[in-house]
């Protein structure tokens, strides 16, 4: 086909895509509007039918235009409605509302935007990703060096990823048509001349509809120039060879586990309840959980309880100014990572405040413009969450660090006391770990540690809290769970763990862990709580390891 013709076709497509984008946004808004209807309205058969037809139609066109995220969400909605309308499934209004609510226009992110020849520099801000498959993510590795390729396959498989390796981009793209991966790892110094440069590789991936997937690069080199090249090609992570598998795994965890897993939490403080409610609703519409507070003096307890990702203070309040309030909050250094944004209606004041701002992070003028207001909040909240994660998480396992897990345990213990509920704590330790390190080296030891972390995270509930307590020691907090049930759960994970085969060169070996559990109503304070779990762990080790012991089992 003549090149000119191709360009004009691409132009036409770009135009259609632009038109469709607007249509998609307005239709997504309509879906969200349905979520606000009263129960009996939503459950009416003609409403459901209407939604069913609409979701089917829009899913089809969204996918045709490369909007894979909204397309997938619409398909899910379509299939739930199909269940209700055609297969006699019961209506779960709450679930249905949720499915409608996630269709906020924020999910309208095209994956092929770069393909538009005339869309210069119009990349969407930070594409907010919708959650991929929760576990067993599929990774494609593009690598023609068999040693590295094997290392990646074996190493990442032991972390629970499905890994498929490819030596050429053509076979990779072919396979992606059948089974779309969740992420890509690309060696940029492959031998094939034709696809040598990173720009060529990423362009090829985009052309095959994989433009929105996170691309991680491994490289022989570690120079600034290489990294710049990677950044220019929208690569999300850069690792130099030889690849450090645990480090790569924690990067993967970071880029693949969506940060928008739970909605962003924003604390609004404003004495003018009308203006505050206006802002709250605006954020709410975009899926941001906003809490409104009109009395600044209550803020400290509220931060503790609500755990916001970001705070917005009005500058002018009768009891104290926004700046003063920010100073007070900043006395608490462990909240230092939470961004504070000021709101004011006076333009000049904004300049002055921005110039001398030490406690705040940004300044927004009232009346706010919805789209840019929400965009600012989302991008700041996202960044803040990333930083908070890095601050509180252990880099090898992605679990909470020692001080953080102890603090969380304290919270949960206190909460159980207040609510008259029960929380259990478990102390786990990998058996004979020193021997692993001595015989196979620290790198293999790290794989074992990270594997157990991965297993725990996957096997426990999202409400359970997991921390790396020491070298090969883990602390798990299980709210609303007694010791007996905690033991059942951990025993199941123990059996799973002992089956995992680890490899070092030609050797294969297995590991196990022991655990001690204590439940909160058997102790008087949090120190005793940990201590009892620790003693139970000690007994588990004494009794021959690879077992879980409850603290009241003292025979």
């Amino acid at each position: 086909m003549a090149n000119e013709n191709e360009v004009s076709i691409q132009r036409e497509m770009a135009k259609l895509r632009g038109e469709f984008h607007n249509k998609l946004i307005s239709e997504l808004r309509e879906f969200v509007a349905y979520a606000n209807l009263p129960d009996q309205e939503i459950c009416r058969k003609d409403t459901l039918k209407k939604l069913y037809d609409a979701s089917h139609r829009l899913a089809g066109s969204a996918l045709t235009f490369g909007y894979s995220d909204s397309g997938a969400l619409l398909r899910r909605l379509e299939s739930s409605l199909d269940g209700i309308l055609n297969q006699g499934a019961e209506i779960d209004v709450i679930a249905l509302r949720k499915q409608l609510n996630v269709l906020a226009p924020a999910v309208a992110i095209p994956e092929e935007i770069d393909k538009d020849l005339d869309a210069q520099g119009s990349k969407p801000e930070e594409a907010k990703k919708v959650q991929p498959r929760a576990e067993n993510l599929l990774l494609y590795v593009l690598e023609d060096d068999p040693t590295t390729s094997n290392l990646l396959k074996i190493g990442l498989s032991s972390f629970g990823y499905y890994v498929t390796t490819f030596t050429s981009i053509a076979t990779l793209c072919e396979s992606a048509k059948k089974d779309r991966p969740d992420g890509l790892i690309v060696d940029i110094e492959r031998n094939n001349i034709a696809e040598q440069t990173l720009a060529n590789t990423t362009r090829c991936l985009r052309e095959n509809g994989m433009g929105s997937l996170p691309i991680l690069v491994v490289s022989q080199h570690d120079s600034f120039a290489e990294k710049l090249e990677a950044a220019r090609n929208s690569v999300v992570a850069f690792h130099s060879k030889p690849v450090d598998i645990p480090a790569l795994e924690s990067t993967l965890e970071f880029v693949l586990q969506p940060l928008a897993k739970s909605p962003y939490r924003v604390l609004l403080v404003d004495d003018d309840v009308y203006s505050m409610e206006h802002h709250r609703l605006m954020l709410d519409k975009w899926g941001i959980m906003a809490h409104a507070l009109s009395d600044p003096s209550k803020i400290l307890d509220l931060i503790e309880e609500f755990q916001p990702d970001l705070m917005i203070f009005d500058l002018h309040m009768p009891s104290c100014t926004g700046v003063e309030l920010a100073e007070v909050v900043r006395f608490h250094t462990h909240w230092i990572h939470i961004p504070i944004i000021f709101l004011s209606s006076e333009r000049n004041e904004g300049r002055q405040i921005s110039a001398m701002m030490t406690s705040g992070d940004d300044f927004i003028l009232k009346p706010v413009v919805e789209e840019s207001f929400v965009a600012t909040i989302i991008s700041r909240a996202q960044r803040a969450r990333q930083l908070a994660e890095l601050m509180t998480r252990d880099s090898l396992t992605g679990l909470l660090k020692h001080t953080e897990i102890k603090e969380r345990l304290g919270h949960e213990y206190a909460r159980a006391g207040r609510n008259n509920s029960i929380v259990s704590v478990a102390m786990l330790d990998i058996d004979k770990f020193k021997r692993v390190n001595d015989s196979y080296g620290h790198q293999t030891g790290d794989v074992v540690i990270a594997t157990l972390a991965h297993l725990l995270r996957r096997g426990l509930r999202t409400t359970d809290i997991i921390g790396r307590y020491g070298g090969e020691e883990y602390l798990v907090v299980l709210p609303d769970t007694d010791a007996k049930n905690a033991a059942i759960k951990l025993n199941a994970l123990r059996k799973e763990f002992e089956k995992v085969k680890f490899r070092h060169n030609a050797d294969e070996f297995n590991c196990s862990f022991s655990g001690g559990i204590c439940q909160s109503d058997q102790v008087n304070n949090v120190d005793e709580f940990v201590d009892q779990a620790d003693q139970a762990l000690y007994r588990a080790k004494e009794r021959g390891r690879n077992q879980i012991v409850e603290s009241d089992d003292t025979d």
Binding site: M1, S8, E12, L16, H56, S61, T64
Partner: protein, 129 residues
């Protein structure tokens, strides 16, 4: 073998119709009749005398299979290649569409640049190659 030239596309979503128009007219250089519903197709197909009919499966009102049935009652389709378009991928369904007279199925979402080529292949198969 006759050349594939005239195609009827039946699809309720106007965005997808517009994309298919680019794919078939601009990329494939085919002569296209675009219909927004099964009813419209029933009205216009016979006069258009197509080589191929591309039918969306799920449409409000007359769905793809029903439209096909009615078209068959109204005119002779033995020389016309019937292709369904669907997002569903189970092989049993594809078999079903074939059993009611389709020669093949295009999976949605389709690729603008390669749709014509794909239909070309189906056309060759239809003509017994």
């Amino acid at each position: 073998m006759r050349r594939l030239q005239r195609i009827v596309h039946v699809e309720d979503d106007d965005s997808i119709r517009a994309v298919a128009k680019v794919a078939l007219e601009r990329v494939g250089n085919f002569t296209l009749l675009s219909c927004a519903s099964g009813a419209e197709a029933l009205e216009k197909t016979e006069q258009f005398a197509p080589d191929m009919i591309l039918l969306d499966v799920m449409m409000p009102g007359l769905d793809g299979p029903t439209t096909l049935k009615k078209l068959k009652e109204a005119m002779d389709l033995t020389e016309v290649a019937i292709v369904f378009m669907t997002a569903k991928v189970q092989s049993t369904e594809i078999e079903y569409y074939k059993s009611i007279g389709a020669c093949n199925v295009v999976l949605k979402p389709f690729d603008v640049m390669t749709l014509s080529e794909q239909l070309g292949q189906y056309w060759t198969e239809f003509n017994g190659e």
